[in-house]
Symmetry: D3
Subunit: 209 residues, 6 copies
C-alpha cells in the first residue's frame, strides 16, 4: 500500500515551483523589471509574505491636510507582486482631505468604513463626477484621472482603497507642481497660475526654482 | 474676451467621449465580449454608475455556512467594467465559514474590518499557507488557487475583498461537485471520495445524478 | 494546369476574415467595448481606413495658448482601433504652449520636426525631467504622468507625437479644474489654490460653480 | 432540512453568468471586437461549443503542396473565443510541404504524431533554426516569424499545432506575394525577384497585375 | 559588387538581438519574474532550445490513477518562456483517470490521439459540461475551472494538451486537500467532508495534520 | 510654519521609486526578461534617458536599396523600455525602397515628413492595401503583416515610424531567405522559387548553403 503513494507522487514531480509560478513574491534585493520585482526563491516564501499588518493602525493626520495615506504596495507587501492588485488605507481627520491626485498605473475602488467622504474624479472630457459617500458605499476611480477625497462629516473618516495594479503610483498635483525644482516660469506658463500663487505654494510645500 | 475662450475649446473639440474612453460603464442590454460588457453611451453615464451602496449592509448569515458573500462585480456595479478591479463583502457569523473555493479570473486581497478570520490558500505544489488574521490585517490570495476563510473568534467577522478583475468568478468546491447533475460515479472516480460521502453531500446540496 | 491552382486555394478557404482578424477597423455606428470599438465588416474595409490625411495641415494656433493639438485617435483614424498605437500633431506658434496635461491611457513619444521645444514630465516621486529639444530629437513621456511642451525658440515649432494606445485620452489640468462645474470650494480644498486664483481662471476658461 | 439548502443557494444567487464570465463562446452573428467575437448568450451554450470534431479526418493533400492545413480557430471552434488558444491539423503526404509562412497573431507549438517533419524558423536577426523532428517531438515557433514544415520521411506525416491565440492568422508567403493583384513591379522592387520569376509564380498561383 | 553587400548589412546592424527579442529562452540559473524566467543570452540559444523530445514516450501509468501527466512547461522546455503557450502529454491506461484539477494560470485544449476519453469541466455557476471524446476530437477547458479526464474505452488512451500559458500550473484537488499538512479540522469545516473520509484519503495520499 | 511642511512629506515617504515604478529605463548590463530589460536604478535615471538624438540625422542611403532605417528601440533608447512604444527614421533616396518586411512584435504608424512614399501591406487573406502617401499623411500597418515602402517621387523622402512595442522586431524578407545559411533546397521547396533565382539572390546578399 506504500508503493502506490509514491507512484502518485511521481505525477507531481514535475509540478515544482519552477513549473507553475502561482505567485512571485517580490525580492527587493534583485533587479526590478517592467512588470514587477524579480521573485523571491520559492523555498523562502512563507505565509507572512502574503499577510500585511501595516494597515491596522491609522496614519498620522497631524499635518496640514489632516489626512494620511498608508499604502500596501508590492515594495512593502511583497505577496502582491505580479498579481495586479494592492491596497492602501486612508485616514481623514475632521476637515481632512486627500488632495487632487492621480494613480498613473491603475484604477481604484474605495470603500468607506467609517465616517462620510465626498469623493470625485474628472474625466478626459472635463466632466466632473462626485458624490458624498456614507459608510459602506464604494466608488470607482478610473485609471489615471484626477480625483480627490474630502472628509464630509463631523467625525474622522476611514476608508480602504484597492488598486488594479501592485504599484499604481501616486501623483499628488500640488506636490508635482510645487514641491520640487520645476522653474516657476514653466509652472506659470503651463498652468496659467499667477506668479504670486505659485510662489506662495512653493513656500508652503518646499519648492525651489 | 469671449473669443479666446471659444478658441480654446476648439482644442478640446476632438477630446470627445469617442476619442478617449476613460471608462466603459457596463451596458447589460448589449452583448458581452471577451473583455467585458459593451459600454453604456457616454451621455447616459452619471456618478451613480461609479458608486454602489450594496455592500453597506451585511448579507444574511442564517444558513448552514453561517456566512454570506455579497459581490460588487461588473454586472451589479457597472462602473468597474473594463477597469480590472471589483469588490465583495464577506460576513461571517460566529462559526461562519466561506467554504473552499477559487476565483478562476482574478487574484484577491482581503482586509479584516471586524472580528478575526483564519484564512488560507493552497499552492499548485500543494503547500498550505494559512494564518489567523486580526482586524486591520490584509492577506493576498493568488489567482485561481483553492482558498478559504473561517471565523476564528467569538464575535461576527466582517471583511472586504478586492479582486484584480471586474468579474473574477467564484467556484465553490462543494457546489461544483455536489450541487448539480454531475454523475456520482464520475465524482467518485475523479476525487476518490466514497459513494456514501458523495451521496450524503448531494443530499444536502441538492445534487442529482 | 488550372486544377492545381484551385486545389491550392482550398488550403486558403479557411483563412477567411473571420478566422484571422489581422485588424479591427472601428465601426463608430456599433457599440464601444472595454478594448475598443467593434469592427467594421471586413468586406467594407479599404486602404483608406488605414490612411489619414488630417495631420497634413497645421491646427489653428490663434488662441490664448498659441498652440494646437490635432489627434488621429481611433475615433477619427479607424484603422488603428485595437492596434495599440495612435498619433497626434502639435503646432506651437512663437510663444505657444501645450499646457500641463496627462494621457491616462498611454505613454507618448514626441519627435520635433521643426523649431525647438522645451518639454518635460514629473514623476510620481515629484522629480522633474525636462529638456530643450531640437529638430530631430525624440522624447518619451511615461503613461499617466503630468507633462508639458513649450515652444523654446523664435520660430513656430512642429512635432508629432505617438501613443501606446489607440485612445490614450488627454486630460488638460486647467480644463479639468477650471472649465467645468466643479465647485470652487472643492477646487480650493483639494489644490490649496486661493479663491481669487480659482475664480480668475474659471472666468477665462468658462467654469461655473 | 429543505430550508438550509435554499439558504445556501442564496449565496449563489449573485454567481450568475453575467457575474462571472468563465468563457465567451463566439456568436458569429454579432459584431467582432478587437479581442474577439461577442459572446453567445450563456443559456444557449452547451458542451458542444467546447468540443470540435473537425480535426479528426485528414485534409485533402491532392494539391501541388501535397499538404493540408485544417484549422480550429474561434470562427469554427467557438469555445476558444477569448481563451487565447487554438489548434490546427497538418497533413503532409510524402513530399508534402507547408510553405514558408507566418502567424501574425500568435506563437505556435507543433507535435509530430506520425512520420517525420523537417521544421524551422528564421529570427529577426536572420539566424535559421531548423531540425528534423521525429514522432513525439515538439517544436516552438515564436510569434510572427517566418517558418516552414516539410515531410522529411517516406511516409505521410501528421502533426497538430497549437497557437497562443484563438485567431493567430496565417500569412503564406507565396500567396501574399503572388496570389493577388499586387503589381509585379512593386513585388520586384521590394523583393529583388526577377520579373520572369514573379510572372511564373503569378501564373501558378493566379495572381494578376 | 562587394561594396553594396556590406552597405546593405549596415541596415541590419541595429537589428541585433538586444533590439528585437523575438523570443526569450528560459535561463533557469537567473531570477524568475512575474512574466517568466529571465532570458538566456542570445548567442547561447540553439534550435535545441525550441525542440523537446520528452513527450515522445508515455509516462508510467503503474499507479493508483493508472495515468500519467508529462508536462513541457517553460522550466523543462525553455523555448516557450514568454510565448504564452506550452504542452503536456496525458497517458491513461485502461481504467485510468486524471483526477479533478485546475490550471490556475491558463486555458487548455486537449486532442485525443488514441483511445477515447470522457472529459468535462464545471463552470462558476456549477453547470457541468462533459462529453465522451473519440480519436481526433478536441475539447477546450476555460482557465481556472475544475475539470477531469477519464479513459472511456477498453484500450489505453493518449492525448496531448496545450495551454495558453508557458506555466499554467496544475492544482489536483485531492493532493491540494489531502497530501499536505492542512489540519483535518480545517478541511472538514471548509468542505463539509466527514472526518473519516478526510482521514482515509490523508492515509492514501500521505497527508498529515 | 516649517513643521507642517515636514509633516506633509511624511505622506510622501512611501511614494518611493520602489513603490511606484512610473518607468523602467533599460539596464543593458542586467538580464533581459520576456517583457523587457531589467530597470536601471532609479537614482541613476536622468532626463537624458528619455531623450534620444539619434534620429536627427539621415541614415546612409548609398546602398543598393538607396534607403536607411534608423531605429530608436529600447536597446538604444532606454527610456521606452516597458512603455510599449518606440520609433524609427526612414530615409529613402530617389529610387529608394524599404524592402518587403514584417515587425513580429508590433503594429506601426508611419508619417511622411518630406517627399512622397508608396506604402502597402498584405493581409492574412492575401488582400493588398497600398496607396501613395504625400507629406503629412499617416498610414497604419497591423502587427506581423508583410509591408513595404517605396519612394514614389523625384526627391528624397523622409518618414518617421512609431511602433506599439519598444522592441517590435524587423524581419526583412530577402535577408531572412537569402542572407544566411538556410539550404537552397529548403528555400526552393518552401517558396517555389527557382534554383537560379535563389542562388542569384544568395550571391547578392551573402547567403551560403
Amino acid at each position: 500500500m506504500i508503493l502506490p503513494i509514491f507512484l502518485i507522487f511521481s505525477l507531481l514531480s514535475s509540478t515544482s515551483n519552477a513549473a507553475v509560478q502561482d505567485f512571485c513574491v517580490a525580492d527587493l534585493t534583485g533587479p526590478d523589471t517592467p512588470t514587477g520585482f524579480v521573485c523571491k526563491k520559492p523555498a523562502a516564501v512563507t505565509v507572512d509574505d502574503f499577510v500585511f499588518s501595516g494597515l491596522g493602525a491609522g496614519g498620522n493626520t497631524s499635518n496640514i491636510i489632516k489626512a494620511a495615506v498608508t499604502p500596501a504596495f508590492a515594495d512593502k507587501f511583497g505577496g502582491v507582486n505580479g498579481l495586479g492588485i494592492s491596497m492602501a488605507r486612508l485616514d481623514l481627520a475632521v476637515g481632512g482631505v486627500i488632495p487632487m491626485h492621480t494613480h498613473p498605473g491603475g484604477s481604484e475602488v474605495l470603500i468607506v468604513v467609517s465616517g462620510s467622504i465626498c469623493a470625485g474624479f474628472i474625466s478626459s472630457d472635463n466632466k466632473v463626477y462626485f458624490k458624498s459617500l456614507k459608510k459602506g458605499d464604494i466608488m470607482a476611480f478610473p485609471r489615471g484621472l484626477l480625483h480627490f477625497q474630502i472628509n464630509a462629516g463631523g467625525t474622522p473618516a476611514l476608508a480602504f482603497v484597492s488598486f488594479s495594479s501592485e504599484r499604481p503610483g501616486l501623483q499628488i498635483l500640488d506636490f508635482a507642481l510645487f514641491a520640487n525644482d520645476l522653474p516657476s516660469e514653466i509652472i506659470e506658463t503651463t498652468t496659467f497660475l499667477d506668479d504670486a500663487q505659485v510662489k506662495k505654494l512653493k513656500g508652503v510645500l518646499g519648492g525651489t526654482g
